[in-house]
């Protein structure tokens, strides 16, 4: 059988067929997501330790986070997860224009998330609720309240960087979709970018209640 003639351009030489290629790419993506979980895991562990050491201070300090803004951001991220899932669904059915639309909406949601985060951060910076030695606020009872804000800024900051990275990746996927690189037989990069975006959502699903709701 002449393999060279009926191999599609998107199929790399070292794979038997498109399905094997896609599965391999997704396995690689999942291993990467695993390292991301462990990266955030260290911070969740730090949260657990400090919360166990200073329960009252954590309780007092968490009341200074804005539950309304946090809730809005949770809704924004969930909606962006839905739109990125719909974008993948659309490309699976060769609806390229829908994919472009849904990816654009996802980018807008991501930007909304960061803008809200910016307002939250600037409010806290203004009041001096800052990590470590930069902490100058005096309205929180308890021992070492700056530790809560160290945990808060590190966790939400790293998460915010991931949102930013996700926007860059989705933007790149959007450009490639506009260029017509993807179709129902080949959309692996769209799907892997989606996996990354869902993980960013998944981490926020834990950050929001732990920091804003129960502290």
């Amino acid at each position: 059988m002449d393999v060279a003639t009926d191999r599609p351009a998107y199929l790399a030489e070292h794979f038997t067929d498109a399905e094997q290629q896609q599965e391999s790419a997704k396995l690689g993506m999942w291993v990467f997501l695993l390292t991301e979980i462990l990266l955030f895991g260290g911070l969740f562990c730090a949260y657990a330790i400090y919360r166990a050491w200073y329960p009252e201070m954590f309780h007092n300090a968490h009341k200074h986070l804005d539950v309304v803004l946090g809730s809005i951001n949770t809704v924004v991220l969930i909606l962006s997860s839905v739109t990125v899932a719909l974008a993948i669904h659309a490309i699976q059915h060769n609806k390229r224009k829908q994919t472009i639309l849904f990816l654009t909406i996802t980018l807008l949601f991501a930007a909304t998330f960061l803008v809200i985060k910016y307002f939250e951060y600037s409010h806290k910076i203004h009041l001096g609720m800052l990590p470590g030695k930069f902490y100058t606020y005096t309205g929180i009872e308890g021992t070492n309240p700056h530790i809560f804000f160290t945990v808060y800024f590190t966790m939400t900051g790293l998460h915010g960087l991931h949102v930013l990275a996700g926007m860059i990746v989705i933007g790149w996927i959007l450009i490639r979709t506009i260029k017509g690189h993807f179709h129902s037989e080949y959309y692996t990069p769209v799907e892997n970018a989606g996996l990354y975006w869902h993980l960013v959502d998944l981490i926020w699903i834990y950050l929001f209640p732990l920091l804003y709701l129960v502290g």
Binding site: L27, S81, D201, V214
Partner: protein
Amino acid sequence: MHTKTEHKHSTPLLVYLAVGGALLFLTVITVAVSYVDLGPFNLVVAIGIATFKAMLVALFFMHLYYDNKLFMAVFISGLMFLGIFIILTMFDTMKRDMIYEEVAKPIRPNAIIYEQPAATDQTDGQH
């Protein structure tokens, strides 16, 4: 070459919308519950709801429910090691006195790591 009979799986549109709706609903629930004081169960309920939401995202948005179970194994093994990491660390820091005479407490619990600035009027910041 083209022996593949089954086409790649595509999740029905309705599943995405239903899962999205469920996630929004659970967000409302978790915020509402946080205003009720359940004592030590505050944390349990919050983490329980978050874990259910995370499961929905992983199974349906991230396709683990339909995909090759190898991906599920990668994901779960990560969570397992994360669990070991956090549980053993918490045992060490909170239950050390069950083995050693030392009382379980933060190392130098009353240490002031940074001097608090002198109290001034703080009226802003409450909500």
